[in-house]
């Protein structure tokens, strides 16, 4: 081995091309994945244009699914980058929906007050999740698994008590018809070729943009990465670790409440069991979006592509001849595995296989 006079380690690093930089971005895999899945389903439906998969109606259908799971995925990504899980978002969707429905339908409160109570409730539960995690030091997986079951159980029991044995609260539409606040959650922005694009699309875009901006362009975002990377190192650098985590648990609960309001005000009913399984779909969205399960690395923007992959898969299966929705879970699991492996590979490239 020959040794140069005084070679600095850094001089050995090659100049990095923009393309290579893109290859090491956490979103890279999800963009490729979104394009691949879209092309795959289009191919499976025979590259037809104008009807079925490749039509405005079809597009509106999977964008609806995409937007809804995407609202959860963006905030769940932030929380996962900070090194924590929130399994309670699924049952939070059910619980928040019930609260809104009971407020406006059962108790006849105005819509604005119903929304206020719903969001306040979600933020409170989010705070409790976060507080329990930072105070007990227990894994958030366990803490939020606890709140997942508690919310679901209490939701069922209390709704049955309030509605004489039913677990579904209906009649929301009659109380909210024509209400401008309700329109914010269930309004149609534009109809093209028989496909309705609704306000949930705007909610999704706003949540993704705000999450991305916070993550990449604010001090708080820097702390999110740091807390997930190494809690003790962050604390020693003066990062308010507990505050960061608690605020992020409140953000995931809030996004679950937004999801719930969209569903309740669109369908006119609330069901305790609504949102079941959404906690895992949100995690899958985040992982396909390039977020590391172990924290410290990831992207909120990537979760948007992850959500698109989910939406296209869930709805696309209906358009493929000979297939039905039974295959959805199988494909979702497969996608998760592929995404996790791809993330690993990207991470190794990004960190130069050193850490």
């Amino acid at each position: 081995m020959t040794v140069d006079a005084t070679p600095s380690e850094a001089q050995r690093i090659r100049r990095i091309s923009p393309w290579r930089t893109f290859l090491t971005r956490p979103e890279f895999g999800s963009i490729i994945g979104a394009v691949f899945i879209f092309t795959l389903f289009w191919a499976l439906t025979g590259f037809t244009v104008g009807k079925g998969f490749m039509s405005w109606q079809g597009f509106a259908a999977y964008i609806e699914v995409t937007a809804q799971v995407g609202i959860l995925g963006a905030t769940v990504s932030l929380l996962m980058i900070a090194g924590e899980f929130d399994l309670s978002v699924g049952s939070m969707v059910g619980a928040a929906g019930l609260i809104l429905a009971m407020c406006v339908s059962t108790y006849g409160l105005p819509v604005w007050l119903g929304l206020l109570i719903t969001f306040a409730f979600a933020l409170a539960i989010g705070w409790i999740n976060g507080y329990l995690v930072v105070r007990t030091g227990l894994p958030s997986f366990i803490v939020t698994l606890g709140t997942l079951y508690m919310l679901r159980g209490a939701g069922l029991a209390l709704t049955r008590m309030a509605t004489n044995g039913l677990t579904i609260v209906s009649g929301v539409n009659t109380s909210t018809a024509g209400d401008p606040l309700a329109w914010l959650f269930n309004g149609t922005i534009i109809s093209i070729g028989g496909g309705d694009f609704k306000t949930e699309l705007v909610w999704w875009i706003v949540v993704v943009l705000v999450s991305t901006w916070v993550l990449l362009r604010t001090r708080f975002g820097n702390w999110i990465f740091a807390v997930g990377g190494n809690k003790d190192a962050s604390r020693s650098m003066g990062v308010p670790v507990s505050r960061v985590k608690i605020l992020l648990f409140m953000a995931t609960a809030l996004s679950a409440a937004i999801f719930a309001c969209i569903q309740v005000l669109s369908f006119g009913t609330a069901d305790v069991l609504r949102g079941t399984g959404k906690e895992f779909e949100a995690i899958i969205t985040a992982v396909i979006g390039g977020t590391l399960l172990t924290g410290g690395y990831g992207s909120a923007l990537g979760s948007a592509f992850g959500a698109f992959v989910l939406g296209v898969t869930q709805l696309g299966i209906y358009f493929v001849p000979g297939f039905n929705s039974d295959w959805y879970a199988f494909v979702l699991g497969l996608l998760l595995l592929v995404a996790a492996m791809l993330n690993n590979w990207i991470l190794r490239r990004a960190s130069g296989a050193r850490s």
Partner: protein, 273 residues
């Protein structure tokens, strides 16, 4: 350095003791460091080095004895308090976050911002520029400030942590075993930077159990053994062998040498037979 600045210790511990339950971690230990001086704190594992530096960086409070800065007695209420007073501690394993970029690491907890209200944001342009300048200053060329710290070598990461502490106004630099996980070349990078920090007038406390690393950079050597001070020496007053034996490793090393000798003799007789 002026004579004035180095006459009064920037940071000192005066006869400090610390009990953990019934275990006496430190008994009557004193240590001081002046501006432009490197004090090497030497000792075997369990000698009380960590306890002493945790006291000096505000993690633990002494049960008896006092801490002083610029000759005035002080109480450090928290690590943050110590940082505000200009005492920067770089822990070996906690130096930097490998999955974050150089500039994000450099400004962690001290991010510059622009804008007001809800538009107040992380000033990435400034962070990138300053991080690049500071890294250049310490001899590490950063081509891409978005480069993850995980791509840097162990010595460079440690150096980044030191440069960061200096940039944010540290007067006292406490380095906890900065070279213990590093190879020869990487250790040299860190040792060179310790000398640089000293030349800039920082007071440096360099904790190590590696006497070979301490000797070339130390102005002063404080030796701890079993929670007690085993002496303080100036550069040139003490040899490597003396330091080793004072650290409590001397007798063990002598024993080891005898044992190895016996093993070798046994091996030779086996070969012969």
């Amino acid at each position: 350095m002026t004579v004035l600045s180095s006459s009064v210790p920037v940071l000192e511990a005066r006869n400090v003791s610390k009990l953990f339950g019934r275990v006496l971690a430190l008994k009557d230990v004193s240590l001081s460091v002046r501006a432009g001086e490197v004090n090497c704190l030497l000792g075997d594992n369990g000698a009380g080095k960590s306890t002493l530096i945790k006291m000096l960086s505000g993690v633990h409070r002494p049960d008896s004895g006092t801490l002083a800065m610029d000759g005035e007695p002080i109480t450090l209420s928290s690590p943050h308090d110590a940082q505000k007073r200009g005492i920067a501690t770089v822990f070996q394993d906690l130096a930097v976050l490998p999955l974050m970029s150089v500039s994000r690491n450099f400004f962690l907890g001290n991010e510059p911002t622009v804008g007001v209200g809800p538009l107040r944001r992380f000033d990435i342009a400034t962070a990138d520029r300053v991080a690049r300048e500071q890294m250049h200053e310490i001899g590490i060329e950063v081509r891409e400030t978005s480069q993850l710290v995980g791509t840097m070598s162990g010595g460079e990461r440690q150096t980044l942590a030191i440069a960061r502490a200096e940039y944010f106004g540290a007067r006292v630099l406490i380095l906890d075993e900065p070279t213990s996980a590093l190879g020869v070349k990487q250790s040299a990078i860190v040792l060179r930077h310790i000398l640089r920090a000293r030349a800039r007038g920082l007071a440096v406390i360099f904790i190590t159990h590696n006497v070979q690393h301490a000797l070339p950079v130390g102005d002063k050597f404080t030796i701890l053994s079993h929670g007690r001070s085993a002496g303080e020496f100036k550069r040139g007053e003490v040899s490597l062998e003396q330091l080793l034996s004072l650290m409590g490793g001397g007798s063990e090393l002598a024993e080891l040498a005898t044992e190895l000798e016996q093993l070798r003799a046994a091996g030779a007789s086996l070969d012969a037979g």
